[in-house]
Amino acid sequence: MSGHDRTLYLDRLTVSFDGFKALNELTLQIDPGELRCIIGPNGAGKTTMMDVVTGKTRPDSGTARFGDKLNLLEMSEPEIAQAGIGRKFQKPTVFERLTVFENLELALAGDKSFLRTLLARRTLKQENRIFEVLEIIGLTQQHQALAGILSHGQKQWLEIGMLMMQEPELLLVDEPVAGMTPQEIERTSSLLLSLAGEHSVVVVEHDMEFVRSIAKRVTVLHEGRVIAEGNMDQVQNDPRVIEVYLGA
């Protein structure tokens, strides 16, 4: 959908915390419309990578580009979000004391300055868009409920729905199926698959079954760098991957 050759390009990113290298010259490229899974043992740098991309953590060295022009390392978190990168946290974070509908409304793409939101009126178009997303994430029935009473799985979907409202070019999704029932997992897979194509989606996940069911390309991180990349079978047969992760 975008004219870029690549959506995200990370080049030799290094982040260290007190001497520990969370990212060690990490290089990664995500293409437009791609659905990429990133796996790796604990401490491999998956979450740190997302933190760098969304502006939460600044790297010691390296570059991070979004599209052809934007240098993510010079942008603040809201600027990055406004530029088109949405993030779903590991622990579902929705606004528990707002309704499901209001949660989606706040995620609407558009001008997010104080004065604009102070005077904002919801248009019919926006309402229809919210109900469209409610339909996709299967929460139409619950749209008036406070988000706090949703089940764990429903909160995850609501958060994915909030990402969709932002109309991002790139979605970063951290462990979407942790703690889900098999039915919920199935539903989440089809949700993420339907998002790819229109958006680029990067999923960090531990659940290998789930990764196999959705990913065409898988990247394996270990100790802050990429040790293997390819389809699931290639990756699973890579001796280094077996050694550090799958074989363990």
Binding site: E77, T93, F95, R97, L106, K112, F114, G148, Q166
Partner: protein
């Protein structure tokens, strides 16, 4: 479906607003009648002192409103609201001092009495313009607003939050108190300003003028309430609550959390300043003890007792607690601080939603949405 939703939103509008404005209108009608029309011999007569008390309660209600806006909705526990209240009060006080003119004890047409007493030769530069009410009015808004803007700009940008922010707001008000205590600051030192004669030519010793001031206070309180209500029920209001509940999530949705906090903080402190400006002509004195840290903490107690995050709860809490304070301190003064402490502990333990929670709790069980809300709140409490 969307239409149905819109309907539901308007149905959810609280009846609290109607109650609050109704009660305020009642006060504005009944209190003046009881003072001016009912003869002093009647048991229902309200004395000049009673009039001042009601005026004071309404000013405190406005101060409480400002705390509820920043704390109840945005989650920022500002323990420095009394500083903004006092700055508004001092700006009004400076006007009232200039208004005395040559009628002071020393009869100096320009210099207020304390300046003559402290051997000032001329008016300090920052006192110029305060002989014009319009300028003073502007300063009542600007002094607290600009201080809040400067303070908030640094604090929120540096991402100072939670208890750290509360502590530096306490430090702010404490520092201002120490500064205003100094004679060489040009604000009358520990005596502050008093012995006001009139406001805009109206005699401040006349009960009619006090009735008028009370009416203005009630009117401004109602207006400020509606302004706050408009802010919190707008989309920006939902962003503010979102910031309170999940700050970093809000940031990743693309909202500039710092600028939202700053706007709310400035608005809140301007409201506190207006409350102070209305307070001074009715009470007749302003001195540095108004800045004392305990004052700001007391406001937080009023809001917690009334019920935060409702606006009218804050106003109710301010009025009830201060009425109790007036009552206790005139009958058993030594017991008041214990009573206040005990009340605060009890409310925190048993009424997390304050006095308003008691009233609206019953109502809320009716609708399905209300039930869901109650469930959510229970779940939240269970988590804590």
């Amino acid at each position: 479906m969307p239409q149905q939703y819109t309907l539901w939103i308007s149905a959810r509008k609280d009846s609290g607003t109607a109650w609050f404005l109704g009660a305020l209108a009642l006060i504005a009608v009944v209190v003046p009648i009881l003072n001016l029309v009912v003869p002093p011999s009647s048991a229902f007569h309200i004395s000049a002192y009673g009039l001042t008390l009601v005026g004071k309660y309404l000013c405190y209600a406005l101060l409480a409103l400002s705390v509820d806006l920043i704390w109840g909705y945005c989650g920022i526990l500002s323990l420095g609201q009394a500083a903004f209240f006092s700055l508004g009060g001092y700006a009004m006080g400076m006007y009232l001092m200039r208004e005395i003119g040559p009628r002071g004890v020393y009869g100096n047409p320009v210099l207020p009495d304390f300046m003559v007493f402290l051997n000032y030769k001329s008016l300090p530069w920052f006192w110029h313009g305060f002989n014009h009410f319009g300028f003073a009015l502007l300063m009542m808004l600007l002094a607290p607003g600009l201080l809040a803007f400067a303070f908030g700009w640094f604090a929120f940008r540096s991402r100072v939050t939670g208890v750290y922010l509360s502590i530096i707001t306490q430090a702010l008000t404490y520092a201002l108190m120490l500064a205003f205590f100094r004679n060489d600051m040009g604000f009358g030192g520990n005596n502050g300003f008093t012995d006001f004669k009139d406001i805009l030519g109206f005699d401040l010793h006349s009960e009619k003028v006090h009735v008028f001031l009370l009416l203005i206070t009630a009117f401004v309180l109602a207006g400020s309430y509606l302004l706050c209500r408009m802010v919190v029920s707008s989309r920006a209001g939902r962003v503010i609550r979102a910031i309170r509940d999940a700050e970093s999530r809000t940031r990743f949705l693309g909202y500039r959390v710092e600028s939202y906090k700053l706007w709310v903080f400035v608005l809140s402190s301007v409201l506190a300043g207006i409350a102070g400006a209305l307070y001074v002509p009715q009470i007749g004195i302003i001195n540095p003890s108004e800045f004392s840290p305990i004052n700001s903490i007391e406001v937080v107690i009023w809001v917690a007792m009334g019920g935060r995050g409702t606006l009218y709860g804050a106003a109710l809490g301010a009025i009830l607690v201060n009425y109790a304070k007036t009552y206790f301190t005139s009958t058993i003064p030594e017991a008041w601080n214990y009573a206040l402490g005990a009340l605060f502990v009890l409310v925190t333990l048993f009424l997390p939603r304050g006095i308003i929670g008691l009233v609206s709790g019953r109502e809320k069980k009716r609708g399905p949405v209300a039930q869901l809300q109650a469930q959510a709140e229970q779940a939240e409490r269970a988590k804590e």
